[in-house]
């Protein structure tokens, strides 16, 4: 009689938030593989109801410690679109620059602190301090640069203090911006060294065809607003996000799940890159080519490489943004806000994928309804489907429990899940 093999991971490590993996295999056949989210809900969408508009960005940034800048900017955009408020071009540029620096910080944290230990055979970055000191120092330098840039523009590296509806409370000095530009230029060769390290890693060869959802860029690789697009050919306006997200509740997760044209879809760096490859900056494109990453890539582990490509992308684009900012005069950083009744939707690309905030207001600017659709919640179903197919393949190939456990953890990690954010 054959026994049932079990692989159980309680509270997966090196990810944000609480998730479990349960796998059962018998006679080389997969019986069950489940990705469970057990995070506690915090009810942000209810908390916002009755609150005035100015509370929204401040509270919503607290949905997530890692992408708080993205949440804050999405929240601000939703309020401004509801009130029909357009900020000055330089405010838009500062927002994008801030967004870029959060992306860099988040991607470097994920790639170096959470993912690299898997490929270097350690359980965390701590042993790498002794074995790979140069890599750890490089990672710390890049992360520090990104965090300091967030402090310079947003007031601090998380839960920003200068970003408000109507613009900013204050801007940095031009001289400080010029220094940032020099530091960013010097980061490009550092990112090249990091790419060199990742080029030595054996990225698992796994493929499952899926649908990729992201913003569609026009002239620039997209981050703040615009049309919504899927690799299966769906295209909708920003306001029309609900048919793009289709949230529903599932028994195995306190986070909602999403679907579009298939049982699941993916968002994140790989989705953005698959849908906007032609908009990559030259260095980013060269990095993608170095790893043979071209659209449409269906290997979820390549999301790590896509993040690496985006590190180069956001640094190169930031250099352009700073040049544009330094070449123009800036108006007062903050505009007067005139609330009105209505609905505002924002779609923003945050490190882990497309994020939506939608608020409805009464005529005094109090929130009567709020909805936030989080990137990781959109990815949960895709993780589940990947897990089933990948583990079935590994079980059929006779791989050990240990190999399966490690690869399953790496699969979830490749999505860079922000689990508490997905439950919010």
């Amino acid at each position: 009689m054959s026994t049932i093999r079990k692989v159980e991971i309680h509270h997966l490590t090196r990810v944000e938030g609480h998730g479990n993996i349960t796998i059962r295999i018998q006679d080389g056949k997969l019986i069950e593989a489940r990705w469970e989210v057990v995070e506690t809900p915090r009810f942000f969408e209810a908390i916002l109801v009755g609150k005035k508009w100015e509370n929204a960005p401040w509270l919503c940034g607290r949905i997530c410690g890692i992408c708080s800048i993205g949440h804050t900017l999405a929240s601000i955009r939703a309020v401004e679109r509801a009130f029909g408020l357009a900020v000055a071009p330089e405010a838009e540029k500062f927002r994008l620059l801030l967004k870029h620096m959060e992306t860099l910080q988040s991607h470097v944290l994920h790639l170096c602190f959470l993912v690299a230990p898997d490929f270097l055979g350690t359980g965390s970055i701590l042993p790498l301090i002794a074995s790979h000191p140069d890599t750890v120092k490089l990672a710390a330098r890049l992360k520090m640069l990104a965090n300091q840039a967030c402090e310079l523009i947003g007031g601090r590296s998380l839960h920003p203090t200068r970003t408000v509806v109507g613009g900013f409370t204050m801007y940095p000095e031009r001289a400080e911006l010029a220094v940032l530009k020099d530091r960013l230029a010097a980061a490009l060769p550092e990112l090249d060294v990091l790419a060199g390290l990742f080029a030595t890693f054996m990225i698992p060869d796994f493929r499952r065809e899926t649908e990729f959802v992201s913003l569609q860029g026009e002239a620039r690789y997209p981050f703040l607003g615009g049309d919504l697009v899927s690799s299966d050919g769906v295209r909708r306006s920003e306001d029309d996000y609900l048919p793009m997200t289709n949230e529903y509740c599932v028994e195995q997760s306190t986070s909602k799940w999403s679907r579009l044209s298939r049982p699941s879809f993916a968002v994140g760096a790989l989705a953005r890159l698959n849908n906007n490859y032609s908009l990559l900056t030259p260095g980013a494109r060269a990095t993608a080519e170095r790893f043979g990453l071209a659209p449409v890539n269906h290997n979820p582990f390549m999301n790590n490489v896509a993040q690496l490509v985006e590190c180069v992308q956001v640094v190169e684009d930031s250099l352009l943004l700073i040049e544009e900012l330094l070449a123009t005069r800036w108006a007062a950083p903050r505009q007067v806000v005139k609330p009105r009744a209505g609905r505002g939707v924002a779609a923003v690309e945050v490190p882990r994928g497309i994020l939506y905030h939608c608020y409805e207001f009464d005529d005094e600017g109090r929130i009567t309804r709020a909805d936030c659709v989080i990137p990781t919640s959109q990815n949960h179903a895709n993780i589940q489907h990947d897990l089933v197919v990948m583990v079935a393949e590994m079980a059929a190939a006779g791989q050990s429990d240990k190999e399966i456990e490690q690869r399953a953890a790496m699969l979830v990690r490749a999505y860079d899940p922000c689990i508490s954010c997905s439950v919010h």
Binding site: T40, P41, V49, K52, G65, S124, A140, R156
Partner: protein, 275 residues
């Protein structure tokens, strides 16, 4: 067991420390990985043996436990009690752990199930009112802030490791704000809880021209009556003052009183569960 490390050239015992998170955004733990220039020195102060967000290894043998987040579900009570049993020193890390943080805003609804229905509809999801750690267990040290400030964490952890009494200011943020030569936020037309909020953040928000939201809770003493007068003198709406007082849970008593005073509490009729 305690191993010896060296910090800035001085031999120090490196206590075994563990990091845990309950209901939170995990931003305070992220802060621990910031201040990269001093990160290696900071890590040398302690021996991390349990830090799920950053490492695979997990040990239940630790001396100091840092707990981020508040309690919002029964299984978190069980986890917290177990941590309390193990740790010699339990540190509440950040506003959620100290006061409930933004999560406790859901407690303001009269019908505790209204928030769940608003988000999940008929789908059953377990939850309980948000509680600060000290409503469940004894807390030995509070590190305030949303988020915590890494420089303050570094100082407090050094003091703990070296056996000194951790210094936590009692005076208000206003003191630090003046020392930074900032313009008063009230003069700029903003609301600010700086006069009544515990200092230690170096007036983080006011220095960016954002009025204080009281994330570090009340100073000792906190003259709330005077603050209400100042706010009135500068034409600040009572609702705006309430938004700040109730935001992080540190002023829960004063906020509940003010909410009761305002006869249009949630300001909306659409949300049957409003306080």
């Amino acid at each position: 067991m305690t191993t010896m490390h060296s910090y800035l050239g001085v031999a120090t015992p490196a206590p075994r420390v563990a990091f845990f998170e309950l209901s939170s955004c995990e931003g305070c733990q992220l802060q621990l990985l910031n201040n990269e220039a001093r990160l290696l020195d900071f890590l040398a102060l302690v021996e991390p043996v349990n830090f799920r967000e950053a490492m695979d290894e997990r040990s239940d043998d630790y001396q100091i436990a840092f707990v981020e987040g508040c309690v919002t579900r029964d299984d978190e009570v069980v986890r917290l009690l177990k941590i309390r049993q193990q740790a010699k020193i339990l540190v509440a890390l950040g506003s959620c752990a100290c006061f409930g943080g933004v999560n406790q805003l859901k407690n303001r609804f009269v019908d505790p199930d209204w928030a769940r229905r608003q988000v999940y509809g008929d789908f059953p999801v377990a939850t309980s009112p948000a509680r600060a750690l000290e409503e469940v267990v004894t807390v030995d040290l509070r590190i305030y802030g949303c988020p915590v400030k890494k420089e303050e964490v570094e100082r407090l952890v050094s003091e703990l490791v070296l056996g000194k009494t951790p210094f936590v200011p009692k005076y208000p943020v206003c003191m630090e704000c003046k020392a930074h030569h900032n313009l008063c936020l009230f003069e700029l037309g903003e609301v600010c809880l700086g006069p009544v909020t515990r200092a230690g953040c170096e007036a983080w928000c006011p220095s960016s021209r954002m009025g204080c939201w009281g994330c570090r809770g009340p100073s000792e003493p906190a003259n709330l009556a005077e603050l209400a007068e100042v706010a009135q003198r500068f034409g600040v709406a009572a609702e705006s003052l309430l938004d700040r007082l109730e935001c992080f849970g540190g002023f829960a008593g004063a906020a509940a009183e003010l909410r009761q005073k305002l006869n249009n509490p949630g300001g909306t009729n659409s949300s049957g569960g409003q306080a």
